[in-house]
Symmetry: C2
Subunit: 225 residues, 2 copies
């Protein structure tokens, strides 16, 4: 048997993030409004405004968060380089602690420390990853990721909204919207779980639960007002 650790690619992960929110929130918003107003034109306007707002908030928000992460990584990297120069003994002690936690004895710890200390760049890389748990972030990746998430949100958000364009009465729209959205959530949840190595039907039901709970709650709360 091949050793194989299933890992969804970053691209697929971004599609999942954008689409799961895109299918859920506009669906629930439209459902909520269907409980309170009868005209579908208001629902489509609100839905479109939500999709625009949500995709920008998720996409631009994700991009700026990625930018902050790059800055954070660089300032920590600079700090580690300084510390390795200024207080090498303390940094060596930190390496020893990492391996002491894994039950390695002091002699082995010292061998590792001396081997790492030979190359400052690699030593700092090691500290970044194993002491601070930071991986080098990529700003191009942040930009692509933001775009993928934003577009997936728009695509996902259009599905629940579509029926409201074709019917006059909001409750008719809601019935159609619920049918196609629950189907879309099931299909989406199924493939998402397959890609991430989870149980497909269980995953599909989870995704449907979120959508249903959000839509039902929005429907009843909006009806109250």
């Amino acid at each position: 048997m091949e050793e194989q650790h299933l890992e969804s690619s970053d691209f697929l992960k971004d599609i999942v993030i954008g689409m799961s929110d895109g299918l859920t929130v506009p669906f629930a918003l439209a459902a909520g409004l269907s409980g309170a107003v009868t005209q579908t034109s208001i629902i489509t306007t609100a839905g479109i405004a939500e999709i625009v707002a949500g995709s920008i908030a998720m996409g631009l928000g994700g991009y700026l968060a990625g930018q902050t992460e790059v800055e954070h990584y660089e300032s920590e990297l600079k700090r580690e380089f300084e510390e390795v120069e200024r207080v090498p003994e303390r940094e060596k002690e930190e390496v020893r602690e990492v391996f002491a936690d894994y039950g390695l004895d002091l002699a082995t710890q010292n061998i590792i420390v001396e081997a790492l200390a030979k190359d400052k760049k690699k030593w700092v890389d090691f500290m970044m990853k194993f002491e601070l748990g930071l991986e080098k972030p990529d700003i191009n990746r942040a930009r692509n990721s933001a775009l993928t998430i934003g577009v997936s949100y728009i695509v996902g958000g259009c599905i629940p909204l579509l029926p409201y364009f074709f019917v006059e009465n909001s409750l008719d729209g809601l019935k159609l919207s619920a049918m196609i959205t629950l189907l879309a959530l099931f299909i989406f949840g199924y493939f998402k779980s397959k890609v991430t190595g989870q149980n497909p039907v269980g995953g599909a039901l989870k995704v449907m639960t979120i959508g249903t709970a959000a839509a039902a709650a929005a429907f009843f709360v909006a009806k109250l007002f």
Copy 2:
């Protein structure tokens, strides 16, 4: 000088996640609707539906994602234990590769491998963290995190919506909403950046940019329909 790596606590991070979306999306949705309808009552209904939908999607979505992560960790853990039993030589080779990347010579690699191999539990822990990059997730943490994010979304979302309850005309509501929301985004961005060790004013401006861009886009797109 003390060595100090600024780290926001998980609790603060969750508040930031929930509140930044909560301040942005309902603000932009209300702005979008203000461009298309004159009655504030529709805007408050839509806003409330959005806050309910968004907080459930973020909170419940976050909880179920946390649950999936726990399952994923456990299945990978089981697999690593099996591999350490079944193909120990291949697993040893993987440990060597980790350290070869840091420039350690073969003799040092072998010392580490033999030391780790003495304790299978620690060896597997090491593989989980350093080969697969997986940390043990905590399902209680997922539940608390979901709750914090959901509540922060509600709190953040109520701020931009508040003015629409007190005025009749939607454009008057939008003016007041923009003022208090931009102020709230500035204050929020300022403290968020302070906590995460970023430049506070720069961070505050970034957060304001997202909110403004989302609201402006939603306003103009909704006006078209």
